[in-house]
Symmetry: C2
Amino acid sequence: MVDILHRIGVTSSPDEVYGALTTVGGLASWWTEDTDGDGAVGGVLRFRFVAGGFDMKVLETRPAELVLWEVVDGPEEWIGTQVRFELKQEDGFTIVLFRHEGWKEPVEFMYHCSTKWATFLMSLKRLLETGRGEPAPDDVKISNWH
Amino acid sequence: MVDILHRIGVTSSPDEVYGALTTVGGLASWWTEDTDGDGAVGGVLRFRFVAGGFDMKVLETRPAELVLWEVVDGPEEWIGTQVRFELKQEDGFTIVLFRHEGWKEPVEFMYHCSTKWATFLMSLKRLLETGRGEPAPDDVKISNWH
């Protein structure tokens, strides 16, 4: 099992970061505009992109601390993996420790997803700090795989 | 052992990408301006940042295909790890498969380095596609750890 790891710091409160991770409006403003569903525990969030998408079941949420999803539909490599956002405060930043865990193999698609997650987390940071993120379909393109 | 993985595509030739990975001038234009040393096999490249730096021994190079370094000095967690850039052509892009391999533990610093590598690889892409990268000290800041 292999994981994708990232860490960013945002100059907003943990509550604001948590809101951007648990509400459809927040998620649609940094990951993909085509987001719907229910961000509460037990709910399913549906994220759609030009080339497909992901359905995430919300496994656990702790205000200002943790959001944990399990991928229940999407690319085969993603199904059953978990996406974890841990929040903490440090030096005036809200730190987001991100982990997309449980990949079976380090396939090339995982290399791609690792870099895409970084650009989307920077979009989350930008949203919170400037009011404007870069969600799909106007997300930062990194390669032929978009 | 855990690895950091990334994948970007650059609309430049493999030779141009290879040049940006093996020459001091190329490396200084996307990673850190304070770069010197020797990018040929057996040489040591020295990369310096405000808060420290890395010395990389060049283990292997294959024009337009591969660059492999071993970290011989720097933060304790980095020493002995390897940094690998594999190049290939696909759909009119030069694909860079990046791997920073051999971390002993997924410590928080590894989360940080994973995201920083993504932003530096995007700097490499920007350098090659626009003529101007974002090397340190004017690199993209991602958190309290810079």
